[in-house]
Point group: C2
Chain length 383, copies 2
């Protein structure tokens, strides 16, 4: 199929910021796009050829949408998989496949796959319900980590349990309980795999946490870790990628333990927050490579031109309403600083409203600038 | 004005590829855009919030369009200036200003400005009409260069006159005749100037010509010239920028003579073909800096991360109709190669259909890849 000069149509399930950044690449290649999102105000309402409002979890909505396009992809995992099964059965190209998505949507299934395939991961107990968990509570060692099976995102659906009494507040849902891993670093590797099976990995990135708040402050590429650890992380990410047999991107989140072991935490089969730095820092951004992969084009170079650091712009606590980006002009005056504004009109505490990329030839300088950016910009609401 | 969180509206006169690439930046900053173009199939039909079909040279169309927005810019010089005068008189922000555009639209006025301001340029004779030229033909020395006063683009409106008999075919129009300059290199420098007067220059780029066909094959950044010549070119470009007192980008095209003199050829007050490499190679692309300049935001870093070379994708001779990009997958398999497809459905001989950027840490390698790209890709029509 000639994507560049035909009536080819690409469908995207989800119209959030990941879709919006993917659209920058579809526009560059002049690829016709259709997007589906539950909100009429979604960031992807502009830049597509056709934007539809609808429920991503509704069979009929997703099925009918998928019928309109030649290749269907996602920018969010939580979509109706039966519709994707049906579309695939009818010969439609769906990347990632419903099978890959099914294996990833459920954290219990993900964990089973890691264990079956000897992929290093934190030990875990799996529970079919809250009742099941309570019945076996004597098996738990506190503190431990509770994760709900499905529909978790951005820290929602994950809790640290300090003692037995924290069990009472948990919702009624299948879940897993993981041992608490004391780790040095939280790392991520993005793997891209094309329809034909060409595979490339991005460099290892590192999440730097706020020393007190235990919140990711910076995503740093390349990770400031030992070369051997980086190689191990990439090898494990490649193995995970093989197991899921995805087409498109797979972001593999990992822990580097105190003993320099690498343990896989979880994966996302789509463009990922940990790869946003790639727009400015890499030869080929994660979004362009996702597109190349699902269209079965040759993959682009995943190496970096320069060091990159990403700072999320999240809504400040205590502010809700029409968003204002305070001091954005101040940070734009610094060399190598690029804000990305997602186009959500209303801010809410911790809502992802945008991100800022800092690039520099020198990592130490980039890190210094990142801190200046972090300390300057504020996402608040109009008073 | 807070561009990032308000109902701010940016208007763009022209909806071609330059507008399309500018829209990538307005989307990144989530800025609301309106575009006006005579063709409903213009590349900017997607990615704007409001796209209008209309004549850019019609007073009323441009005036009414301008009334709808807060800041008005252009991506093509040939627009109705009286409408812009009127909008400016009513307090609308127009960048570049109609005054700057008026000085540049006419090549005769441009030339007068260079001469008055002691900006080095090829000597020229100015003629009010073809009759005027014919009456004074004894003043000409052949070969020489004929340029029509207005509406020239992409080589159209420029002719080399070898002898007196070439005069007969010229159209009825004011014109200038320039002495023929034997030059070593054709160079360009893009200057960006913000509303507040912050000014930055991009590195000097070099146009490499096909040894036989006398056609630009590659735009190369940085130019492979002596450092002293590069500094001189940038100084002259800055002086030209001051004289035109533009807001936004100004692309200054120049000749490097056999004696390493720099002579200004002509300018364009907008994003320019010679700056396309900046999307992949520069810290801040020309398009982002144009936007920063006209919105009076701090300007971004104009330095390069890596060497960049741009190859235009123009329609091959002998082909007209629905476009096909032959071997595009082949060139995408090479590291550091990014095609940009403008979204014009029909190819015609020499029509600009897209461009390809080649970036590499090493210029020699980039140049080698550029040649491979140039020799591989073909813009033809569906058979």
């Amino acid at each position: 199929m000639n994507y560049f000069s035909s009536d080819f149509k690409l469908g995207i399930l989800g119209g959030g910021q990941l879709g919006k950044m993917l659209l920058a690449e579809t526009r560059k290649f002049d690829i016709q796009t259709f997007a589906l999102d539950p909100s009429k105000d979604a960031p992807c309402q502009f830049g597509t050829h056709y934007f539809e409002v609808g429920n991503l979890l509704d069979f009929y909505t997703v099925y009918q949408f998928g019928k309109k396009v030649d290749v269907l992809t996602i920018e969010i995992e939580n979509v109706n998989l039966e519709a994707l099964d049906q579309l695939e059965a009818e010969g439609k190209k769906v990347f990632p496949s419903p099978k890959t998505l099914r294996n990833i949507q459920s954290k219990i299934t993900q964990k089973k796959i890691y264990l079956e395939n000897h992929i290093p991961t934190a030990n875990a107990l799996l529970f079919e319900s809250k009742g099941d968990l309570e019945a076996q509570k004597e098996k738990l060692t506190f503190p431990c980590v509770w994760k709900q099976d499905r529909f978790g995102y951005d820290g929602y659906g994950v809790k640290i349990l300090k003692s037995e009494k924290d069990l009472t507040d948990l919702p009624e849902t299948p879940c897993l309980i993981e041992e608490m891993i004391p780790f040095k670093n939280e790392l991520a590797v993005i793997v891209v795999r094309s329809v034909s099976g060409e595979v490339k990995t991005y460099p290892v990135v590192e999440m730097e946490f706020h020393p007190e708040a235990n919140q990711v402050e910076y995503v740093i590429c390349p990770a400031r870790i030992d070369e051997k650890v980086a190689i191990k992380a990439q090898e494990i990410a490649l193995k995970v990628s093989e197991v899921f047999n995805h087409v498109g991107l797979l972001a593999v989140e990992m822990f580097q333990t105190i003993d320099d072991e690498i343990l896989v935490n979880e994966v996302a089969p789509r463009p990922h927050n940990s790869g946003h730095y790639s727009i400015e820092a890499s030869y080929t951004s994660q979004f362009e490579n996702h597109l190349r992969a699902i269209l079965d084009l040759p993959l682009g170079n995943t190496a970096s031109k320069v060091a990159g650091i990403m700072v999320n712009l999240v809504g400040e606590e205590g502010f809700s309403g029409p968003v204002v980006y305070q001091n954005i002009e101040k940070i734009m005056a610094i060399d190598g600083v690029t804000p990305h504004i997602y186009g959500k009109r209303e801010t809410r505490p911790f809502r992802k409203m945008g991100h800022v990329t800092i690039v520099n030839e020198d990592m130490t300088e980039a890190r210094k600038v990142a801190e200046e950016v972090k300390n300057s910009i504020r996402v608040v609401s109009r008073s």
